[in-house]
Point group: C2
Chain length 164, copies 2
Amino acid sequence: MTELDALDARLLLLLSDEPRLGVLECSRRLGVARGTVQARMDRLERRGVLGGFPPEVDLAAIGYGLTAFAVLEIAQGRRVEVAARLAAIDEVCEVHATTGEGDLLVRMVARSNADLQRVIDEVVDVRWVRRTSTSIALSTPVPPRVRPLLERVATDAGTDPIPR
Amino acid sequence: MTELDALDARLLLLLSDEPRLGVLECSRRLGVARGTVQARMDRLERRGVLGGFPPEVDLAAIGYGLTAFAVLEIAQGRRVEVAARLAAIDEVCEVHATTGEGDLLVRMVARSNADLQRVIDEVVDVRWVRRTSTSIALSTPVPPRVRPLLERVATDAGTDPIPR
DNA sequence: GATTCACTGGGCAGATCGTCCAGTGTGGCG
DNA sequence: CGCCACACTGGACGATCTGCCCAGTGAATC
């Protein structure tokens, strides 16, 4: 319920930039007491805002240099089953259920074109998948990020002109 | 040798499960010397496989509960310009350039339907954007993950089973 | 046989961690 | 107006971990 305050946002930003920073360093950089940082982090975790610090693994660096997206159209009412089967494919890294033209949006990776072919085939062959449309990711001009939103909170602080 | 060996994979898996683990704990769990873990981590970082430990921020927990995807068709040769303008929109969290029907795949978040409307308008109004097709994410059956691929390496490549 | 390399196991000083605690605003409320 | 709950400060404690060093072992390479 409680809004994120500016200190929370600054803390998250700081951690985004230098995730290895310890609590002590954070407190120094933010200009607050160590206990405060500790309390804020605990609270953020308890609220579910800060999920943890998962290691960032670069798939490209371990051979999976290709990324592709597939939009799947599936049989009515089979979303759960299809999602489960997609989840069983190692190369499927993300699935969203969506409104609009397709029903599922799938992100997958592969080692080579031939490998991608195999993965796509595997996805397409999933039962109840009616129609698919796949695209290969050529580049990623904006990699996954949350920074801008945090920055807004960190500076704006109180005011909240955005509808809820 | 770009290949990841079984120990590397097990280390990454371990860190995926419990990112806060220190080097010492890792060495204990993996059954190797501390120096070994330290060396492996350094090597993984130097190779770019392990990017770091960015904090995982749950946007839904800070009010941005809606996620939407947009496929943009843009004017020939304007990819860079369009991407730059998209990057300037805070709510745009990810952009990929793709082959296929669309040219750009955009992921964005918003606080409410009205807010989403505003964000979409902002994206659509970007110059050189010809046609767009947006979908709202209703759920995420498979959240972003790399685990299955690591597991494959951890078992395939080595003789060791997965640690306790 | 000699060399290189990764791993082991140990030891060191210094930094950090989790956890306490008293003291200081600051706000809400009877 | 006093009282209380709450958050932050600044300091302290011992336990733990870190970064770094080193000698020794085994395997693979030259």
